[in-house]
């Protein structure tokens, strides 16, 4: 669906490029994620892909066609969930959505009331957006992105600024969109989000992709295939997972005292990120 080769992009006023030769592909119907620290270039890469910045080098092809060759119809195909809320504050939620809905062909448009209900904003639909909280505005961003039922979706940090309940709902909605066959590109610096929803992730640091794989592969490649047992008497020991049931050491160890904790030493995505990139996601 989307093929990116050696994408280089530099902001006109900067000394060097922000994106230093990115190559990746996003298949139809998959959720692909950019995971990286602040300033890595996640949003910039998305902006190139949704044609806000067109002075780039390298090739970007969508549906087999170069981004340069796509005309305004490209925007009927895509939906963008922006990183920050951007709405007319003096207009109501419904007016904001209706306004941008007029630009799309009529056939595919989704029902506005149902969209507001979907993100629990049905009682705020006719209130001015200036009365919305940040999280409410972000949810409005989300439904504006999907109101014309696009095939390709860009979500830039879709869950930042949301409480855990709403963040969970948004993630669920993104998974539902995937189930409908949509192609989805998300950016995040939350390894949890990446782990929960992405089919594949790329680690991006300083404008370069370090590794691209499924979260599952990344975790199992970089973790230990072992369990760690902690006893109530502070003793702890690691045992390989392989034929654990026949491991005499293991069996006698767990009889030595009360077991307080057992956990597998599979790495979290965050640990993998630090191992692979030498950087923390939080910085």
């Amino acid at each position: 669906m989307i093929q990116v080769k050696n994408l280089v992009f530099q902001y006109p006023k900067n000394d060097g490029p922000t994106l230093k030769g990115l190559s990746f592909e996003i298949d139809k119907g998959e959720i692909f994620g950019f995971l990286g620290p602040s300033g890595a270039g996640k949003s910039t890469a998305q902006k190139v892909l949704y044609k806000i910045y067109y002075d780039y080098q390298g090739s970007v092809r969508v549906d087999g066609k170069s981004l340069h060759d796509w005309d305004k119809h490209y925007f009927e195909k895509i939906g963008v969930g922006f990183e920050l809320p951007n709405h007319y504050l003096k207009l109501t939620g419904r007016e904001n959505l209706d306004l941008f809905a007029t630009f799309y062909p009529n056939g595919k448009k989704r029902n506005v009331d149902a969209l507001f209900e979907m993100v629990d904003l049905e009682s705020d639909i006719d209130k001015a957006v200036e009365t919305y909280s940040k999280g409410m505005k972000m949810r409005l961003n989300f439904i504006r992105a999907i109101q014309h039922d696009p095939d390709i979706l860009f979500f830039d940090e879709p869950t930042t600024g949301l409480d855990p309940v709403n963040a969970h709902k948004i993630k669920q909605h993104i998974l539902n969109l995937k189930a409908k066959g949509k192609t989805i590109f998300v950016t995040t610096h939350s390894m949890e989000t990446a782990d929960q929803i992405c089919d594949r992730v790329s680690f991006i640091v300083d404008g370069e992709l370090v590794v691209t794989d499924t979260p599952k592969n990344l975790k199992s490649k970089h973790g230990k295939k072992a369990v760690k047992i902690e006893l109530a008497n502070e003793q702890s020991k690691e045992f390989p997972l392989k034929s654990l049931g026949e491991n005499a050491d293991f069996l006698s160890f767990i009889k030595q005292g009360e077991v307080r904790r057992i956990h597998t030493l599979e790495a979290s995505l965050e640990e993998v990120f630090i191992q692979v990139t030498g950087k923390s996601l939080k910085s």
Partner: protein, 236 residues
């Protein structure tokens, strides 16, 4: 076309829900009151003011354009500051349509204001061709002003500062009337000069055709130039 109307209508809502914008709608009323009552009263009382009547009329013509120059500028600056402009960058909508939709109403409303001004002023009798062509020319100040302001101002704060500067810039060519002879044409680098000259010619019963022609060409060129620059940066 439906999209254009819809957008123009949205601008209306934006204006009427923002007191800092809609209070400006009283500006033309004030100008009409001045030209219908105050100026004739003063001229009747103080003879030496008589030669300045064309100037006062010229100031009113330009001030009529300032209401929507300000409102349109601010609507666009706000839209940029709140990043709503970026959303227009990702919808299937031609940039030219975008410009037309934003200026269609402000432009024709401003044309109408000046037509009214020419009709209600008690000093001269203008023929319809002149009224219409001068009003059409003068209203071009609105898009040029708003585009220029949005190229230089990044946010509302800066916008309000540059508004003060531009409000003076549009009136600078008035100085030309106090400068002797050929030197006055130097003020022709200011586009409003050609509006001033057109009005002046008509009040003297001279044809304004050349002035209007230069004016339209000059404004068209500047609007073309500024709109390109505006469109390059507005949606980012």
């Amino acid at each position: 076309m439906q999209k254009i109307i819809k957008l123009a209508f949205i601008d209306f809502k934006l204006i009427f829900r923002d007191p800092s914008l809609y209070t400006f709608l009283f500006l033309p009323t004030l100008l009409f009151a001045l030209i219908i009552w105050v100026v004739p009263y003063l001229v009747g009382k103080y003879d030496f003011l008589e030669p300045y009547v064309p100037l006062m009329l010229i100031v009113c013509v330009v001030e009529n354009t300032q209401m929507f120059s300000f409102i349109s500028s601010m609507v666009l600056v706000d839209e940029k500051e709140s990043n709503v402009a970026t959303v227009y960058g990702i919808v299937p909508f031609k940039e030219r349509q975008y410009l037309v939709s934003r200026f269609l109403f402000p432009y024709f409303f401003t044309v109408l204001l000046n037509i009214i001004l020419f009709v209600v002023q008690p000093f001269y009798h203008f023929d319809w061709m002149n009224i219409l062509s001068i009003s059409l020319l003068a209203a071009l100040v609105v898009p040029l002003y708003a585009l220029t302001l949005n190229i230089i101002a990044k946010n509302r704060m800066e916008g309000l500062i540059y508004v003060k500067a531009l409000n003076i810039v549009v009136l600078i060519p008035l100085v030309a009337f106090f400068v002797p002879g050929e030197w006055s044409h130097l003020f022709g680098v200011f586009p409003t000069y050609w509006i001033f000259k057109s009005v002046e010619n008509v009040t003297q019963g001279i044809s304004a055709g050349l002035m209007l022609g230069i004016g339209f060409a000059f404004f068209a060129g500047l609007i073309w130039f500024t709109s390109r620059s505006f469109l390059r940066r507005h949606f980012m």
